[in-house]
Structures are given as C-alpha cells and as structure tokens.
C-alpha cells in the first residue's frame, strides 16, 4: 500500500495497465521529460488513458530509460515512477492481447521455453526428414554444382513449405496489427503516406532509442549508444538476409539460375554481409541485455527477448556455416539445421518478440498522424 493514494483516469483490465495509467497522471502533471522522446508529447495530448492509449504509449516507448534517470520521482521516492519498466510490462502484455488467433496468445506466457521447443523440434524434423528420405551417400556427399541444395530437398518442396509458413505468419501478423491499430487510432484509417514515411524514417534510425540525443541508460549512470548500434546491425542484417533470399528466389524463377551461387554473386554478398550483421547485432544485444540494470526492464519477459535474439543468431550462424562448408560432406546436415531454424523462425514470427518492431512502427505512424494534426485528442 502506498503512503499516498493516487488516482487513475479509467478502469483497466490488468494491474500493469492500471499502474501505467497512474504513472501517466504523474507524468502529465510534470512534463519535464517531454523533450526526451515521443511518449511524453503523445501523453500530453490526452487527459484520459484507456487501454488502447496505454498500449499505444507502451509501444511508442523504445526503452531508452532516460526518463527514469531524469525523474525526481523514481524509486525510492514514494511516487514510485518507473516508466520504462511499467511500459515494458504493458508492451509485453499487448503482444499477447493482440495475438491472432486469440487461442495462441498463451504462447507469449512462457515464450522463451516455447520458442526453444519449437526450434528444437523443427530442426529435428528437418534432420530426420533428410535422413529418412535421402540415401547417406547423397546426404553426406559433396555437392558443388548449381542445384546442389535441391539434391537434398527439391526446390518446389522447399518453396511450398517456406512459402506456406511465411504466408501464415503474414496473415496472423496482419490480423494482430489490424486489431492494434483499431485500438490505438480509435478506429481511424492510416490516412496519407506522409505519416508512414515519417514513421519509416523514425524507425529506420531508431530516433527514440537515444535518450534525447544522449544515448540510453544501461548498466550505470552513463548513457551510451551501444544498444542502438547493435539493434541497427541486427535489423539491417535481417533486412539484407531477407533481400538475399528474395534475390535468390527471383534468380531461380526469372533467370532459371539455381543456388548455390558463387561468393561474388548478389544473393551471397547480401546474405554474407547481412549474416555478419545478424551475428554481431544479436550478440551485442544479448550482452547488453544481461548487463542492463534490472530495475529498468520487465524481468519476466527476459525469456521472450532472449529467445528471439537467439533465433536470429542461430539463423545467421547456421547460414554462415552453410556458406563456409557448402562444398564439404557437412553440407547436408548443415542445410537441414539451417532450414529447421529458419522454419521455426518463420513459424513463430507472430508469437515472438519479432512483433515488437511492427507494433512500434504503427505507434510511430499514429504519433506522426497526431503530430501533424496538432489536435488535442478528444476526451471520451
């Protein structure tokens, strides 16, 4: 029980949302942090915070934690203001709340464990599948010519399987994003492209992961930009890998050129650079995550964060190993492992930390819309 009885502006479905509402009342009375990021200016446009507003603000928060170290009311102060942690809780809850189909929202509960099990199972199935279907002489043979990978798994089977799982992820994520957007925009449409471009620019340079230009608060009272840099490596590494796959698909269908490609060819170059980014970035993020002051984070969600970072890391590491050892007898098993990891990654996209980027992007779109209209959001 707090010594001071403080109030909220609306009734909420969870304790985290209630606490976030209480904090927004405190912050809205102070406003010292309004120059640090987008969360506080967005808050100032409101006096009433319903669940949708709080989910919006929570996903707008990039967890730089500058507001925590700048706050005169953070713990041990009796007002107990810890915006980064409470918004992290709300954010994590929102992934589950908007999951599609609803029946799968429980996957976010013990996310680390579930993702690990799905990944292990997926890898195992690919290995078993390869062993069951292919003769050992093919599986452990040396294949170097174009079409080498497809000696182990026919291209059409690969395309069908991965295309299918990717399509499913796309549908599930789209449904989740629609529900989220309805809540945070109060049912309005996205409108013109300008808000989207604004959001692309803000997300692309992680404008709000910089503590108002000073860096993030991490393990001590000195801000750094480390997390932003590692996140850039991860994100752009991921995009390059995705581009690599896309180019390869085009090569295959449009030009009739089959993988593996020589080291200087576009898919390999993109994949290699991306893969390196996708090793350096996740490793850096993992280290930063372990070191970060626990007071700033939502500790029960540690597993979800680590699981997603590990999936990215495994994707890149197995991909790079495949590149290095593709002309050896190890190629068959490495391909099975890599495909298993990528399959699990795709399958779990809608139910993993992956969604954080998309929700945050929509929150940035909404922020751009509000900022452009200058209008006070109506109190309802």
């Amino acid at each position: 029980m707090r010594a001071i009885d403080m109030h909220t502006t609306a009734a909420h479905t969870t304790a985290a949302l209630t606490e976030a509402d209480r904090l927004m009342v405190v912050c809205n009375s102070c406003r010292y942090c309004e120059g640090l990021c987008a969360v506080f200016p967005a808050m100032e446009r409101r006096r009433l915070f319903n669940d949708g507003d709080l989910n919006y603000l929570a996903n707008l928060c990039h967890s730089c934690a500058a507001c925590y170290s700048d706050c005169q009311f953070s713990p041990p102060h009796e007002f107990d203001v810890n915006v980064p942690r409470v918004l992290a809780k709300v954010r994590g809850d929102s992934y589950a709340a908007y999951a599609w189909p609803r029946a799968f929202s429980g996957l976010f509960a013990r996310n680390g464990l579930i993702i690990s099990m799905i990944a292990a199972l997926s890898v195992a199935l690919f290995v078993i599948g390869f062993v069951a279907v292919r003769d050992p002489s093919v599986l452990f043979g040396v294949h170097t010519n174009p079409g080498a990978f497809y000696k182990l798994m026919p291209h059409n089977a690969m395309a069908l399987l991965f295309g299918g799982v990717f399509l499913y992820a796309l549908v599930a994520i789209t449904m989740s994003l629609r529900a989220f957007w309805r809540d945070i925009s109060r049912g309005e449409s996205v409108g013109g492209m300008s808000s989207i471009w604004r959001a692309v620019a803000d997300a692309g340079r992680l404008r709000y992961l910089d503590g108002g230009n000073a860096g993030c608060m991490n393990d001590d009272d000195r801000p750094t930009d480390r997390r932003k840099h590692y996140h850039h490596a991860t994100f752009y590494g991921f995009l390059l890998c995705f581009a690599s796959t896309s180019v390869a698909t085009l090569y295959h269908y449009l030009l009739g050129r089959e993988a593996p490609y020589p080291w200087y060819d576009l898919p390999v170059v993109l994949g290699t650079i991306g893969g390196i980014g996708l090793v350096v970035g996740p490793v850096g993020l993992l280290v930063a995550k372990w070191r970060r002051d626990p007071v700033l984070v939502d500790e029960p969600r540690f597993g979800m964060d680590v699981a997603f970072i590990m999936m990215l890391l495994l994707t890149s590491v197995t991909g790079l190993l495949l590149l290095v050892f593709r002309a050896t007898p190890a190629m068959g098993m490495l391909l099975a492992v890599h495909l298993g990891v990528v399959f699990a990654l795709f399958l779990t996209l809608p139910y993993s930390k992956f969604v954080h980027g998309l929700y945050r992007f929509l929150a940035l779109v909404q922020y751009a819309r509000e900022s452009a209209s200058h209008d006070q959001v109506a109190d309802t």
Binding site: A3, I4, D5, M6, H7, V25, V26, N28, S29, C30, R31, Y32, C33, E34, G35, L36, P41, E44, R47, A66, C67, S69, D70, C71, Q72, F73, P76, H77, E78, F79, G212, N213, A214, D221, R222, D379
Partner: protein
C-alpha cells in the same frame, strides 16, 4: 576516491546546482575538491531536483530560446519582482555573468530544450533543461566525477571550525563516524532551511506544522545556522519564505512540481469557514501563483479550497490528484467538510455579483464582480454548471530568503563588513543578496550557477595563495 583524512583545496558543502558549479569551476582552476552532500545519492541536489530552467540574459535567440533578453530587461524584471529589495551591484554582476554561464553550462554537459508545454511565456527568457533538474544534476555530477572531483553522499556537515572569519575544518558525519575534514577554503552551497519545521516555527508559530515542503527533507539550513553563529553577516528577511498554494493531499516533503494547482483564477477560494478571503483575479500567472501560499498560511488551520465548475476543468495543467467532484455546491461542501449553507451562500453571493464580460484567461480581462467584498477583479464567471469541483490547498514552501551576505567574488562578508578569509557561498544560502523578496521563474538557478562558478573560481584562487 574521496579521502576524508587529507586536506583538500576546496570543501564544497551541498550537492545542488550551486555546489556542483562551484566544484567544477574550482577543479577546472586546478584545485582539489571534495563535495559533501548531506542527502543520500537519490535525493542529491536539494531544490535543483525540482527545477527545470535557468533564467539568463542573452543578446539573440538561440536554438532553444525564442528571442533576446537584454541585461537591462532582466534587471528591470528583478527590480519589479523584488520591489527593489536587491543589491544592485551584485544583481547586475550576476545578470552580466549569466550570459556567459549559459554557454558554460552547455560545456559542462547540460542540454537544453525549447520551453515545456504550458510555459510558453518563458520561452524567450529561460533556458529549459532537457529532462528537467535531475537531468541537469546528473550531467553536472558526471562532469565533476570525470574531472576528478570527490563526492560523498549521506554526509551532513555537523559543525564548522571557524576562527576570526577563517575556516579551518568541518565535522562531517559519514558512514557512522564523524570526520574532521580540513580544507584551505570552504564553499557553502547547501541551501536554506525550508525543511526545518522547528526553525520555521520561530517565525510562523504552530501554523508551520501545516506547511508542506516542496523539496526534500534534507534542506534543513544547518550550515546556514553555523555560519550566522560564527559571525557571518546575515542577509534577507528571516521570517519570509516562498510559498505557493499546493494540493493539501501532497506528501509532507518532496511533492515537487506535480502537486501545484494553476486554477485559482478560474473559480473562488474559500477558507474552512466556507468564506472568501482574497481577490482571486488580482493578477496573472506567475504572480497570482506565488501569493497564494502566504494567503492560505494566514487562514485558520492553513487550509483553503479552490472551487470552480465544469467549463474550467481543462483550462489549466492537470495535476497529481483529481478534484473533489459533486453535482451540487451543497454536496461539494459536505465532501469537503464545509458548512453547506455557508458555501451555498458564498457561491450565490459571488454569482450575483458577477458582471458580464469577455472571458480571456491569457490576459487581464474585463470579467469582474461588483459590490462584493473582497472583489474578484478579473476572470470572474458564475459558478453554476455542474459538476462542481474543488481542490483543497495548503501552503507549499519552496525556499527561504535568509542567507549570508557575499561580495562580487561570492566571498562571504563578516558581520563587521570585512570579507571572510577563505569562505564563499553560492545558491539559495546567499540568494537573499539579490532576491530580497518575490520570485521569477528560473532565477534560483541563475543565482546558483552564476555564484557557484564565481565561488568555485574564487575558492580555487584563494587556496593557491
């Protein structure tokens, strides 16, 4: 690492803006510096924790300041708010220095931003700290530590050894022991005595028990008392403090900015007898804001209630606590513990006296009462649209005016007018030199930064000689 057994060039007592500016300036001038902050690390910085801007003269607009603020204009403002109770030479010196100090603060790692929402009137004159006062403190401490300033927290000064205006050593309580800390010079930058209820009672009597303190409980004025007892010349009215009306539900200490209420002008203010006692429409923000603490302190039990109706609810900044809400004035009175008949009559009398006018809360408008005592001279609108709202308010004490006299070097002057041999002061502890009464936003920080830097430089030079 701090070594309390060695002799430092400069001992800084305090841990706020003035103390850190002094410590940094002294260290940059080559002195060894120890900062002893009486508060724990989280509560470091005294009232600086709750500040947000720095008033400074400047010749032209900057990235964050919207236009020039000349030395003359700053001085005129100071004259007006203090009613002339300022040391003109010292004040002009401070204003001149403030120009350079704005740049200097930036060099110490402090970042500025445009004025905050709801404070547009200050966008030209005051440089706002990005992230507020605690962000400013964090930056100053980081810089001080980088430069090699030693800092200890939870280390109150319990005694000063001063002989004939010469500081010899300080007794500092730290980690369960009393240390005799020696230094060649002393900078006293540890604020006033607003958190010392016993001391406030000397002037305010039992009423002080009902005061709320806006800053931390550590602003007890212990060093100020020691200096005055050791023969340093006193400055400023000891009976006066800066008091605003804040939400009566605020905690006793450290409620900060979020318990303030900007809504006096939108309604009426009644005391516990449910009657009005002062013109709520006398003047515009921030003056109207600053007089109400004292007014409420003069009412029985030091409590009052701001009463307004539905159209005014969103005309002012939100604050921490929700207003007490009711469908009728009588019901509101019951919820507040006031006599319903009296409050009903007070509101009815007020409503009957309101003359038609054009409401404009941004300016002194022509909405006023006629034939009412006390009158409401501006922004008077009938209180008639339910729901009706009330905020209970008490005096919230921000700072005290009593301090030590200093010269242009920020060196203390002894009771006989002679400069102290090796003692300097900066910040609230000497604010009374330039701010004899009144207040203007951000001027406490001007006093802290400007005199802090002067004191630090002076102390470093003094230590070398």
């Amino acid at each position: 690492m701090a070594d309390l057994s060695r002799q430092y060039d400069v001992l800084v007592a305090g841990g706020g803006n003035a103390a850190l500016c002094a410590a940094i300036a002294a260290r940059r001038a080559g002195a060894s510096v120890l900062v002893v902050e009486g508060a724990p690390k989280f509560y470091r910085g005294g009232n600086t924790r709750h500040t947000r801007n720095f008033r400074c003269a400047h010749d032209s607009a900057t990235e964050t300041l919207t236009g020039p603020y000349s030395e003359e204009e700053f001085f005129d403002d100071l004259l007006r708010i203090t009613g002339g109770q300022t040391d003109e030479v010292l004040a002009k010196h401070m204003i001149r220095e403030s120009k350079e100090v704005l740049v200097w603060l930036g060099e110490q790692g402090i970042r500025f931003q445009p004025s905050l929402g709801g404070t547009l009137t200050l966008g030209r004159t005051n440089a706002f700290f990005l992230g507020g006062g605690r962000a400013m403190l964090n930056a100053l401490y980081r810089t001080a530590e980088d430069l090699g300033v030693d800092v200890v927290y939870d280390a109150p000064v319990t005694a000063l050894d001063i002989q004939d205006g010469q500081f010899l050593s300080a007794s500092v309580q730290f980690e369960g022991k009393t240390h005799n800390v020696r230094a060649r010079t002393l900078v006293a930058a540890c604020g006033g005595f607003e958190s010392n209820i016993e001391w406030l009672k000397e002037y305010w009597g039992e009423a002080a028990e009902n005061f709320l303190i806006r800053g931390t409980r550590y602003n007890r004025g212990a060093v100020l008392r020691m200096l005055l007892d050791a023969g340093v010349q006193e400055v400023g009215d000891p009976t006066q403090c800066h008091a605003v009306a804040i939400d009566a539900r605020a905690p006793k200490y450290d409620g900060g900015i979020i318990t303030r209420l900007d809504c006096v002008v939108f309604g009426i203010v009644v005391n516990k007898n449910a009657v009005r006692f002062y013109d709520e429409g006398e003047d515009i923000w921030p003056k109207r804001y600053a007089i109400w603490g004292r007014l409420v302190a003069g009412q029985p039990d030091q409590i009052a209630y701001i009463i307004f109706d539905a159209p005014s609810l969103h005309l002012f900044m939100p604050s921490l606590f929700p207003p007490v809400t009711a469908g009728t004035i009588r019901e509101l009175a019951q919820k507040l513990g006031l006599d319903p008949d009296t409050l009903d009559k007070t509101v009815a009398d007020f409503n009957a006296a309101v003359r038609p006018g054009t409401f404009n809360h941004a300016d002194l408008d022509d909405c006023r009462t006629e034939g009412l005592t006390p009158p409401k001279t501006h922004w008077a609108r009938k209180i008639e649209k339910a729901p009706f709202y009330a905020y209970p308010v008490r005096p919230g004490i921000t700072f005290t005016y009593l301090g030590v006299r200093v010269n242009e070097e920020s060196r203390m002057l002894m009771a006989d007018g002679k400069p102290a041999a090796n003692m300097f002061a900066a910040g609230e502890i000497m604010a009374g030199n330039v701010l004899g009464r009144g207040y203007a936003a951000g001027i406490g920080m001007t006093i802290g930064s400007v005199f802090g830097r002067l004191a630090g430089r002076g102390a470093a030079k003094n230590a070398r000689n």
